[in-house]
Symmetry: C2
Subunit: 217 residues, 2 copies
DNA sequence: TATTTATTGTGAAACAATTCACATATACAA
DNA sequence: TTGTATATGTGAATTGTTTCACAATAAATA
């Protein structure tokens, strides 16, 4: 009955991604003043099955009450803890071009606990300029600034051609988490996590889908 | 031996996404003047297994030569055809704010065959203004303009609060493919494809990974 | 307090994706 | 030609993920 945390259960990537969905749904439910939510209702909102919801959550503990459902606020907090978002992360943005500055302007990240503390570029016209209260630092200063400001995550928004070079420096500085927008397969050591945000891939998926009358699930 | 296309094989989402990876890798190989590539080499470049590469491709035909590998240019073209990117897609951008204008400025999409033909906003200060050669249209004109310009895909970069309302109009206009940046679960009919680009989810995944010393694969 | 109702938590079953392993085919060298 | 090396294409085996189905349990009701 009790789901003791015996360390190394294998959590699938899909489960982790769904935790994000649950978290967002629960945040909304909290605003709508729901006290509890059943796996059935939560599943319906995220277009999943109730069993899927229960199984996902069961990997981390038993958070619900039989006959009643899950306590909204409490479950939300539990998931925040599981995802590691019950805290502030110090983030640096590298490359303040089109995408980089759009992201820096986006206040939601800050609200969700991803605080952009430093922004870097190599363009002399940009260095020293002000972006939403942040001064663009010279990329040359990156290695020591990342350390000094306890940066733990980096968003890469530089041209693909320089991305690997910069990542090597980022890794040198001890960063273990990178969100990469450059359309390139970055090489990093095993203990560094990279997520790629690749809009072309999503467009290609859509292209495939309509071209082939694709029917998932 | 011959892999006749008998219509409805079930292609997994993962396979489709990997086709995009193969396509990008092959484009690069072509530039590097490779004539042929083995599944082993291709797999290595994309951090996959050779068997995975061969299996993925085998769903669509047999493109390789035993003992030699796959012909780079030809395979690239074949994949382009499979993905439906051997043509130009007419795309509309809805919402010309931070993200929307960053995407409009990004010339790679055009090069990859995703041609942004129309851009929409509801802000009077933006309507009529010029963005990279495109004039911002009034969102009120969207329904008929989408039809008139044969738009087939739409990128949604509007605030979450209005996203569902706009999607309903987009669907009304017969659009079957939507790339959505708003952090909301859009409701659409079964024959409309939506891909969500959600950076918060990626950051949360990274957060989970470093918080839990996560080891995928 | 007893009964009914709702819903969880979870092994087992079903389904899906990946990897194995090898017969088969081609290139190329001798 | 013939032989050797290489690498595909694919059923079968394995591994991973989702769904099923139901005992367990708490809440609500009588
Ligand atoms: N803009 C988009 O919509 C979009 C979409 C998908 C992918 N991307 C990718 O995101 C990345 C950035 O795209 P963008 O459109 O913002 O490009 P951009 O050219 O507008 O911005 C890149 C920025 O990086 C800076 N830079 C270049 N070299 C640098 C270095 N060595 N050190 C530090 N900074 C450096 C440039 O000065 C510039 O400010 C690219 O890899 C691009 O392929 C962009
Ligand atoms: N900027 C980012 O980095 C970022 C990151 C992740 C997600 N997003 C999401 O992308 C979307 C856009 O973000 P943004 O930062 O570009 O916001 P933004 O406010 O800069 O841009 C939104 C644009 O949509 C327009 N708009 C508002 N209502 C409209 C309507 N009814 N019809 C047509 N246009 C309308 C606004 O005038 C504005 O130009 C949001 O949903 C946001 O949550 C943005």
């Amino acid at each position: 009955m009790v789901n003791r945390d015996t360390g190394k259960k294998k959590i699938s990537e899909s489960t982790i991604r769904r935790l994000s969905l649950y978290y967002r749904a629960l945040s909304l439910l909290e605003k709508e003043n729901y006290e509890t939510i059943s796996s059935r209702e939560l599943a319906k909102r995220e277009k999943l099955t109730p069993a899927q919801v229960r199984k996902d959550l069961s990997f981390f503990g038993s958070f619900g009450t039989r006959g009643l459902g899950y306590p909204v606020s409490e479950l939300k907090d539990r998931i925040a803890k599981i995802l590691g978002i019950n805290r502030i992360w110090n983030v640096a943005m590298i490359g303040v071009g089109n995408i980089g500055s759009a992201l820096v302007s986006y206040k939601e990240f800050q609200k969700q606990g991803f605080a952009i503390k430093l922004i870097f570029d190599n363009d002399q016209r940009k260095i020293g300029s002000n972006h939403k209260g942040l001064i663009v630092s010279d990329i040359k200063e990156m290695p020591h600034l990342l350390l000094e400001h306890n940066i733990e995550m980096v968003v890469l928004a530089v041209p693909a051609i320089v991305a690997q070079y910069i990542v090597d420096e980022v890794v040198q500085a001890g960063i273990k988490a990178i969100l990469n927008f450059a359309p390139i397969n970055l090489k990093v050591p095993d203990d560094v996590f990279v997520r790629n945000e690749n809009m072309s891939m999503e467009l290609e998926y859509l292209s495939f889908a309509i071209s082939n009358n694709y029917t998932p699930n």
